[in-house]
């Protein structure tokens, strides 16, 4: 197995691409009782248009298939629900769907290999019938309605609708009641066969393991599959501008919530190595920490004026198809707060001392992950999907400097390209 090491942190990461193409990443943590495994396919809500690698046919499936598949994967031919079975083994099992991947996971202290049996069994044995697909439609419909009611979700998806006109990242992960009405057993099998091919998957495991032993156990449970060439995904043309500046919705909230958004238009030119991506990722986060985080001037000012009560949350979300920053908060005067935030992000200075202090904080936060096998697994799967080696974050911190941070800040945080999404309380 390939080994990547960070001696300072005493971490070794073992990697192997199996014959069937599945990428396995093992991060051993000695003396930990808890174990965590996550198996993800690079298939998410933005992947509704693609070329079937076996037939070379262009495929257009309804939005929401990836999520629908996630729901149906647990159902077994013998009537057993794998999720329930895993829980009765004392495992903490779950699954989720994002824009760019679908993941199945569990954590446990005991019964790891029994859990591995079940996980690898259901992942490789889909069982869809007209009847069981139909049964799920109502359940997913309810979930979609739940999302529609969720103020934070509306806030977020509306921000993406401002940032992008056609990019599928703006779609609801679960699809809509209308789109899911077209999903059939055949759609599910076709997408399963394409996207759940091992060569499109990554598995991360962390815990007290001897890596070669674990790898053998994984291999034993892999079913043979015909080789598959790379899946070509079809996305709309790159958009050179934001879609709209402002959007507003009314939901059941006590106080207005807001989200500011920025596209990172420079990201497409630097989709480079893992290290380059890690550098940009960590730098954007640091800029946000410095300019709108808990120690920033603008936060202190807003807090003292009573305009915000708690710190703002922010994220930099990227894939090969999109890159954007979102900043979320709560305020009785969202527009005023937004104006001050975008002004601070464009114009406020950060000093070299601020930069060095924030870099120390970023270092700490990256190392903290290694205290918990679950945090490790999550970090490694998320970064692996983006083509980043998680250890590169530590390396990146040594390489970035004050000038680089100022450059990135200038590229992303332009007032006239910022968008605002607001969710206000229902009237009456």
């Amino acid at each position: 197995m390939e080994v990547v090491e960070n001696k300072k942190l005493d971490i070794k990461v073992y990697k192997e691409t199996l014959d069937n193409g599945c990428q396995v990443i093992i991060i051993p943590r000695k003396d930990r009782k808890r174990k965590y495994i996550i198996w993800a396919t690079k298939y998410g809500s933005i992947d509704s248009n693609f070329i079937d690698p076996t037939t070379n046919q262009e495929m257009h499936v309804p939005d929401g298939v990836a999520h629908y598949l996630e729901h149906k994967m647990f159902e077994q031919e013998n009537g057993v629900d794998s999720l329930y079975k895993m829980m009765s083994l004392g495992l903490n099992a779950n699954a989720y769907t994002t824009t760019d991947h679908t993941a199945y996971l569990f954590s446990c202290s005991e019964n790891f290999y029994e859990g591995l049996d079940e996980l690898m069994d259901y992942f490789q044995h889909p069982y869809f019938t007209d009847e069981n697909v139909e049964k799920e439609r109502g359940i997913i419909g309810q979930e979609i309605q739940m999302y529609d009611d969720d103020p934070e979700w509306s806030l977020y998806i509306n921000t993406l609708r401002c940032l992008y006109k056609n990019n599928p990242v703006r779609l609801d992960t679960a699809g809509t009641i209308e789109t899911i009405s077209h999903i059939t057993k055949e759609t599910l099998y076709s997408c399963y066969n394409t996207f759940y091919h091992p060569s499109n998957t990554i598995m991360c495991v962390s815990g007290d393991f001897e890596p070669n032993e674990l790898l053998e156990e994984i291999k034993k449970r892999m079913l043979p599959r015909e080789k598959q060439s790379e899946i070509k995904r079809i996305y709309p043309e790159y958009e050179n501008d934001i879609n709209q500046k402002y959007i507003e919705a009314k939901k059941d909230v006590n106080m207005p919530i807001f989200m500011a958004g920025y596209r990172d238009f420079s990201k497409t030119e630097i989709n480079g190595t893992s290290l380059e991506k890690a550098k940009r990722d960590i730098t954007v986060k640091m800029i946000l920490d410095m300019l709108v985080g808990g120690c920033s001037d603008v936060y202190q000012k807003l807090y003292n004026e009573g305009l915000v009560k708690t710190e703002m949350q922010y994220a930099y979300e990227t894939s090969d198809e999109y890159a954007h920053v979102v900043v979320q908060g709560e305020s009785k005067e969202p527009q005023t707060v937004y104006d001050q935030i975008v002004d601070a992000l464009q114009n406020n200075e950060f000093t070299e001392a601020d930069f060095e202090r924030t870099k120390k904080k970023a270092y700490g936060e990256n190392v903290y992950d290694y205290d918990d096998v679950i945090a490790i697994g999550r970090t490694y799967i998320n970064t692996a999907i983006q083509g980043i080696d998680a250890l590169d974050y530590i390396t990146a911190l040594n390489e970035i400097d004050y000038e680089y941070a100022k450059k990135v800040r200038g590229e992303i945080f332009k007032k006239d390209k910022a968008v605002l999404s607001v969710v206000k309380p229902n009237e009456g």
Partner: protein, 408 residues
């Protein structure tokens, strides 16, 4: 005074904790709950919260936190800081010592103005507490539980709301709060814990040594509350709020003294998804979304908590009573015993996976008269028999039926 050192090598951080343990009473709970909020605002060395935050960032993103709890007859303030272990730092530095120094500074060296707390901070934080007390009804599940607790405990201070009440809050000012805190520091028990690999490099900060009551240890046994009164008929309380889901909270008096047998009893009754309550109330009859029971070992009660559809009140109550009766009538299977015990062992075995859980465990041994080690606890749970569980069941009686329902 000494640092309670727990040497562990499998983490990347040192977890540092200072606990102040004091008597719980209705007169002081409001002040005690407010104190940590004032302390976090500034110290003599770091005058503002911003200064503290910047210092934490500079310490490689060290994390500061605090909480407050009622435990039997005690009120406990807990202050934490976690720092990266020294060997993982990119420079030579004793960050663990810096961590405990900063924590001690926050707890024992608060910012003073004319010899007392800063007036502005006290007023602001009083306002925040006031909002917290007023919005107590927002979280319906927590509200129902705290109301049920009030009713179940009657005059006992354990029934008090954790933030106290507005009447007491309004009497607080920066002067009397400061004086109260100084008195508390003289009379409380101070426990200091460090869990991590740098424990041998940490010295006790001087400032801590001047505080605390060295005799407090003898009071450890007093953490236990007296037994609830025996009642002929359960007390019935109905609260009405604008809710779509109703809540039933049932307070059980537990007279048995074997806490391990009670633990197993509670686990079988409503500990998890295998339990009688979950299986019968939720799975078989679909009457509730959630149902569980929790055992308060320092107060000798079990509380059953449910969230139900409003129309299911009578039916749900009946099914719960049936489960209690079944246990009293000896309807307990070997499988239920094994499942319950396995679940309890698993929880015990996971303690040392988490530094804060380990610290809390050691604290209970040190100050709450809960002396058994993990191994002893497991042994004692293993020794519990079906007969023990039935004996516990026979000593259980319903003291309170609390119902939170809709206004209509």
């Amino acid at each position: 005074m000494e640092i309670n050192k727990i040497k562990s090598k499998k983490f990347v951080t040192n977890a540092i904790a200072i606990y102040l343990t004091t008597k719980l009473d209705k007169e002081t709970i409001t002040m005690n709950a407010l104190i940590p909020e004032i302390l976090k605002r500034g110290t003599e060395n770091y005058k503002t919260q911003l200064d503290i935050s910047k210092k934490l960032e500079d310490m490689y993103g060290a994390v500061f936190n605090f909480s407050r709890e009622k435990v039997g007859n005690f009120f406990v303030m807990k202050f934490y800081i976690s720092t990266l272990e020294n060997k993982y730092l990119p420079e030579e530095k004793n960050l663990a010592q810096e961590g405990i120094n900063l924590l001690a500074d926050i707890v024992f060296n608060p910012l003073k103005e004319d010899g007392v707390f800063n007036a502005k901070y006290v007023e602001q934080e009083k306002e925040n507490r006031k909002k917290e007390i007023e919005s107590r009804k927002d979280d319906k599940d927590a509200y129902a539980y705290s109301r049920a607790l009030e009713e179940l405990m009657e005059d006992n201070p354990y029934g008090s709301f954790i933030y106290g009440d507005i009447e007491h809050l309004e009497k607080i000012d920066n002067k009397n709060l400061y004086e109260h805190y100084q008195k508390l520091l003289k009379e409380c028990k101070i426990d200091i814990f460090v869990d991590g690999c740098d424990v041998d490099d940490i010295a006790l900060p001087e400032i801590i040594k001047q505080h605390g009551d060295p005799e407090f240890k003898q009071l450890s046994d007093e953490v236990k509350n007296k037994l609830l009164n025996e009642v002929k008929e359960p007390k019935k309380v109905i609260d009405k709020l604008d809710v779509t889901q109703g809540k039933i909270d049932i307070g059980l008096r537990v007279s048995d003294e074997d806490k391990y047998a009670i633990l197993v009893y509670n686990q079988i009754l409503g500990g998890d998804a295998n339990s009688k309550l979950f299986q019968n109330v939720r799975e078989k009859n679909g009457l509730a979304y959630t149902v569980r029971s929790t055992y308060s070992k320092y107060n000798n009660f079990i509380m059953i908590r449910t969230g139900i559809q409003l129309e299911n009140f009578d039916k749900c109550l009946k099914v719960i009573e049936d489960q209690l009766a079944d246990l009293q009538n000896g309807k307990v299977t070997e499988k239920e015993m094994t499942d319950a015990k396995e679940c309890l062992y698993a929880a015990l075995r996971e303690i040392d996976e988490n530094q804060l859980a380990t610290i809390n465990f050691e604290y209970a041994r040190e100050t709450l008269a809960d002396d058994d080690s993990v191994e002893d606890k497991e042994k004692k749970i293993r020794a519990v028999t079906i007969d023990d569980v039935i004996r516990v069941a026979k000593g259980v009686s319903v003291n309170l039926v609390y119902y939170l329902t809709n206004e209509k």
